[in-house]
Structure formats: C-alpha cells, structure tokens
C-alpha cells in the first residue's frame, strides 16, 4: 500500500446525516449484488431439474434467506429511490444544501414506506419465500 493519503479520505469529514444517504446507497448496491447471486442460484437450480430445484427452494425458504429477502427488499427500495435522486442531481438540479437535505429525508421516508409495502406483499399476503 502506497505511503501517502489515498482517496476516499474517510476520516476527514464531519458527520452529517446526508452522508448516510451516500454510504447507504453503496451498501444497498452491494446487497443487491448478493441478490444477483441468489437469482443465479435460483435459475441454475431450475436448470438442474425438479428434484434439485425442490432442494434449492428448501434452502431459499430457510429463515436465514428470509432475513436476506428483507434486506434485499429494503436495498431494492432504497437503491431505486436514492438512485433516482442521483440521476436528478446529474441534470444539475437539487444540488443546493437545503435541497439535498430535504431530498435526503424524502429518500429515507419513501424507501421505508416502499419497503413496508413490499414486505407486506411478500410475507403477509403469501407465506412462501
């Protein structure tokens, strides 16, 4: 490792809640990458035929995976809403400090509501997966 300061300089910033929206976007992106592996596993089990698939569904509906689906649904909701915020920023809009503070709250509230709705549909409406 080079003997000099390397970007990103994580320790030099004063903590502010808008900072959380940024790191959460990255964290949820990584969780969704894990979700990509689950999707590939699901499809590859399908390729293996009915018996292997039934075994895989057994694994995929275990408690640890149910916990993962909660994380995946939140990550999907958050990364979607926060990603749209980034795309709006890319057009040069909403970059003032007061605006980005408001949109940080909006991202948090909308993504939590969306997550709750998705969780309701996933777990309350249907017991499966």
């Amino acid at each position: 490792m080079p003997d000099r300061p390397l970007s990103p300089h994580l320790s030099v910033y004063r903590f502010k809640y808008t900072l959380v929206t940024s790191i959460l976007n990255r964290a949820t992106g990584l969780v969704l990458t894990a979700g990509l592996l689950v999707l590939a596993y699901w499809l590859m089990a399908l390729h293996q035929g009915p018996e292997s698939y039934a075994r895989a569904v057994g694994v995929l509906s275990s408690p640890i995976f149910k916990l993962l689906y909660v994380g995946l649904l939140f990550s999907f909701a958050y990364h979607l809403v926060a990603g749209i915020r980034h795309l709006i920023w890319d057009t040069g809009r909403g970059l003032e400090r007061s605006q980005s503070q408001k949109s940080a709250w909006a991202v948090g509230i909308i993504s939590v509501l969306l997550t709750l709705a998705l969780l309701f549909v996933t777990f309350a409406q249907r017991g499966a997966s």
Binding site: G29, L39, A40, L43, H47, G49, Y53, A128
Partner: protein, 127 residues
C-alpha cells in the same frame, strides 16, 4: 490553440475521449434498470407459487425470457461497475488487481449462467 507540446503530439499522448465512459454507462444502465427491476419484483411477487412447474412456465412464457435476459445483462453490468468502484476505493496494492479480476470473472459467470438457463427454457430445451 493547442496546449499540447510538440513532443506530446508526436507521441500521441492526450485524452482518449473516454474519461466519462464508466460514469456514463453506470447512469445509462441505472435508467434502464428502473423499469426492468420494477417489472421483475412485481412479476416474481405475483407468481402463484415457487414450485418447479410454475416457475419453469413463467420463465418460458411470453415476453418474460426477453425481459429476464435484458434484466440479467444490464444488472450484472451495473453491478460490475459499482463493485469495481468499491474495490478501487477500499482495496489497495496487489489485492486490488486480483479483486477486480475476480469480480469481472464472477459477474461474467453469473450473467452467462443465468442467461443460458432462461434461453434454454424459452427455446423449449427443458425436458
């Protein structure tokens, strides 16, 4: 007026006009993923069950295979770009190159395997 030195011009140094390529592709794939991921989440949650026959029929029917192939291709591409930036930010020295290569291999493998399964069911290759 060019600010390039004569030597630089002769050696062909300078911008390759690709400085924004990573940034731009990340944005384009992000825009494409908005409708694709919403479609995917809604479709999967609307499945009556996750039994083999149900899922096998869903994967093979209508426009589902086309949308699945698009989703898998664009999502792995977007994921690859995102993971690349994370590695470049936090992993240094020799482990960085190795991590980047492993990430590229893993993403390519996931995309190829998932698309292969979708196409096999779509074209009726599944017994």
């Amino acid at each position: 007026m060019s600010l390039q030195s004569p030597l630089g011009r002769v050696l062909g140094y300078g911008s390759a006009k690709e400085g924004v390529h990573h940034w731009w592709v990340q944005r384009i794939t992000a825009v494409a993923l908005i409708p694709l991921t919403i479609w995917f989440v809604v479709s999967v949650l609307a499945l009556p069950s996750f039994e083999y026959a149900t899922v096998a029929r869903w994967v093979a029917t209508g426009w589902t295979p086309l949308l699945l192939v698009l989703l898998i291709a664009v999502m792995t591409w977007h994921s690859r770009l995102g993971v690349q930036v994370v590695i470049e930010d936090y992993v240094h020295s020799g482990a960085k190159t190795l991590s980047l290569i492993l990430s590229n291999f893993a993403h390519t493998l996931v995309a190829a395997a998932a698309i292969f399964v979708v196409l096999r069911f779509a074209f009726g290759g599944a017994a």
